[in-house]
């Protein structure tokens, strides 16, 4: 498959995605399909660190929740006082005009993203100096600490959560509106990451993944690259979170915003399932995971989370390359890799010996 066919295919996929909300048969499932774009965003942003840079982050959900809360708080404080808002709680009187709503949403998402980038830069310059397991465990702590903190902070609703303003009638149903929001976000994130991976930045973070000491010895400012990578990931996650809060209307601190056991785990699994360290891997992994989850998992009656743990173990231990990684190993030429048959044979026989 050469690059022009791939381009045509991608464009066709995008146009098809644009028309999904117009198909009557898919109308009832529109929110579910909007969730798919969110899942793709999760997997893509996790893969920046987890795949391309080789740094496990279990705490990326921090930025998702941060963006969500920032957006909701700004939407609330722009037009209401806290007391007023608590009384109406997003009911009739809290209805906003279209312009007000869009302005609040845009400003909130922008601020949330900015905030997330600042937090990522501050935290990153500190903890990204940590290697390997120190970083992994530290991020594990971050996500949960944020959730605990949010559950105790009254200004943002504490444990009882926060309600976002309703979508004005002029913008139509929530489903189609946020479908487009997430579609556009996912496409932008994909294109930005593709551009980044193709350039010097991508080479640098791949070098960090392959051998950080050597990368540093060669003069790369590894901590700086790592921090930037985390900021990119935080930026898109915060935008996603901001819009996601408005899609689900109700923000619970530990079940929606800082939902480590669900979203936080899914992003890891989806990226690995699809193939970490590849561009299309997270997209495919997220799609496969989300579709199977929607189709089958309701039949597991509460055992789905047990299955989730099992799935992670199985995928990580037996299928660490993921779908795209496996295809790449199987048909390297189709991925534009030059294969020297002799060297390949020698490599395989070496692998067999060890």
């Amino acid at each position: 498959m050469n690059s022009s066919t791939r381009m045509v295919l991608s464009a066709a996929l995008f146009i098809a995605a644009l028309f999904v909300p117009q198909v009557p048969a898919l109308q009832p499932y529109l929110t579910q399909i909007a969730f798919l774009w969110v899942m793709i965003l999760f997997a893509l942003t996790w893969d920046v660190l987890g795949g391309q840079m080789g740094y496990n982050s279990f705490g990326n959900i921090l930025y998702f929740g941060l963006g969500m809360y920032a957006t909701a708080v700004i939407q609330r404080d722009l037009y209401f006082t806290v007391e007023e808002y608590a009384n109406v709680a997003g009911g009739e009187q809290a209805a906003l005009t279209t312009a007000e709503y869009l302005f609040g949403l845009g400003l909130g998402m922008g601020t949330g993203a900015l905030l997330a980038v600042i937090v990522a830069a501050l935290l990153g310059s500190g903890i990204l100096g940590l290697r390997g397991h120190y970083f992994a465990i530290c991020t594990l702590g971050l996500g949960i600490a944020a959730g605990e903190l949010a559950s105790g902070w009254d200004y943002i609703g504490a444990g009882s959560g926060l309600v976002t303003p309703l979508l004005p009638d002029a913008l139509g149903e929530r489903g189609p509106f946020f479908y487009y929001v997430f579609l556009i976000l996912a496409v932008i994130a994909f294109l930005v990451l593709r551009r980044l991976y193709a350039g010097q930045f991508g080479l640098a973070i791949n070098a960090i993944r392959d051998d950080e000491d050597k990368a540093e010895a060669l003069g790369l400012h590894t901590t700086r690259y790592k921090t930037v990578a985390w900021c990119v990931s935080a930026f898109f996650l915060a935008l996603t979170g901001g819009a996601f809060g408005n899609l689900v209307i109700f923000i619970d601190p530990t079940d929606v915003a800082f939902a480590g056991p669900t979203f936080g785990v899914w992003m890891v699994l989806m990226a690995i399932l699809g193939g970490k360290g590849t561009l299309w891997g997270p997209v495919i992994g997220a799609t496969v995971f989300h579709v199977t989850q929607e189709l089958f998992w309701t039949y597991l009656f509460g055992w789905q989370r047990v299955a989730l743990g099992l799935l992670i173990v199985v995928v990580v231990v037996f299928f660490p390359l993921g779908i795209v990684g496996w295809m790449r190993e199987r048909w390297p030429k189709r991925f534009g890799e030059v294969v020297d048959a002799e060297a390949r044979k020698a490599q395989i026989s070496l692998e067999g010996e060890s």
């Binding site: 080789g54 496990n56 279990f58 500190g126 903890i127 100096g129 940590l130 390997g132 397991h133 120190y134 992994a136 465990i137 530290c138 594990l140 702590g141 971050l142 949960i144 600490a145 605990e148 903190l149 559950s151 105790g152 003069g219 056991p261 785990v265 890891v268 690995i272 509460g302 055992w303 989370r305 047990v306 989730l308 743990g309 099992l310 799935l311 992670i312 173990v313 990580v316 231990v317 037996f318 660490p320």
Partner: protein, 299 residues
């Protein structure tokens, strides 16, 4: 922070907090000792560490509900968890020992989620505990109360810790474990079956966690999803104490226990877990800042 005044006005409260903290900290130290062992020998950070602890608690709880005294749960939990650890090693862990950190940490992360959810399905999400029936000591004119079970737990920790240390020092297997931790390849050349050593280490660690969990369920409470906090505590203690430093592990464990009790009293009990996680982040940031000053960076 309103509780600070209480502490100033009635200093006897701090004795209470300190005692509670130190006694519970000993249990943290026990789990951390296991983590240090695993880390040192296999270079694996076991994210499921805390879930082993909680599983040990549930084993004891099951016995207790069947009418067997909770104290008998300590050895039983250790034996059951030894088996669980052995099986997990034989099914999953041996495939990831020699591979990169990325895979081993994700694999144990998956095991952790699996165990949590399994316990949630089997035992329910409620907070539970087992009554030891040992009664309570009253000290300082009845101003300080102390469950006798906490003293028993403290003693048990000492016994288990000492037994483990002696096992590692004296027994043939213990020597093999230490040799493998020094240099796995050399150990293999000298005829040590490192695979068996790894299996033994992993199972031993699980057993230690199981004993710790049995003590937790008697002195405190357990809940399927609280395991992660124990993993974080163990990790924190090992990071502060350093690998292979038993005295350091004990000191750090006791210190963490006391710090947590004071934090919970001052900030409110609902922030105790949040405090643990925030403390971890702070400790790692500090550690990094200290290391950075020692490192030369090219400008």
């Amino acid at each position: 922070m309103g509780n600070l005044e209480i502490l100033v006005e009635a200093p006897i409260f701090s004795v209470q907090l300190l005692l509670d903290g130190l006694l519970v900290g000993a249990i943290f130290a026990l789990a951390a000792y296991g983590m240090a062992l695993l880390w040192g020998v296999m270079n694996i950070i076991n994210i499921a560490q805390g879930d082993f602890v909680i599983l040990g608690g549930y084993v004891t709880l099951t016995l207790y509900n069947a009418g067997i005294p909770a104290l008998a749960g300590v050895p039983v939990a250790a034996i059951v968890l030894f088996g669980v650890g052995w099986v997990i090693y034989r099914v999953v862990i041996f495939r990831v020992v020699d591979r990169d950190l990325f895979i081993s940490i994700l694999a144990t992360f998956g095991i952790s989620i699996l165990l949590q959810q399994l316990m949630d399905q089997i035992f329910g999400a409620d907070i539970q505990s087992a009554e030891s029936g040992l009664g309570t000591l009253f000290l300082f004119d009845n101003q300080v109360t102390l469950g006798k079970v906490k003293l028993v737990a403290f003693g048990t920790v000492l016994v288990v810790g000492a037994a483990l240390a002696i096992f590692l020092k004296k027994s043939r297997m213990g020597q093999a474990i230490r040799a493998t931790s020094q240099n796995a390849r050399a150990a293999r050349i000298m005829g040590i079956n490192t695979d068996r050593v790894y299996a033994m280490t992993f199972a031993l660690n699980a057993a230690v966690c199981g004993a710790a969990g049995a003590l937790v369920v008697m002195t405190w409470v357990i809940q399927p999803f609280i395991g992660l906090a124990y993993t974080i505590r163990s990790f924190m203690i090992v990071v502060v104490a350093g690998l292979g430093n038993i005295a350091g592990v004990v000191a750090a464990g006791l210190g963490l226990g006391a710090a947590e009790q004071f934090a919970a009293f001052l900030l409110g009990a609902e922030f105790q877990i949040g405090f643990v996680f925030a403390l971890l982040v702070v400790i790692l940031l500090l550690r990094n800042a200290v290391l950075k000053r020692k490192r030369q960076v090219l400008k």
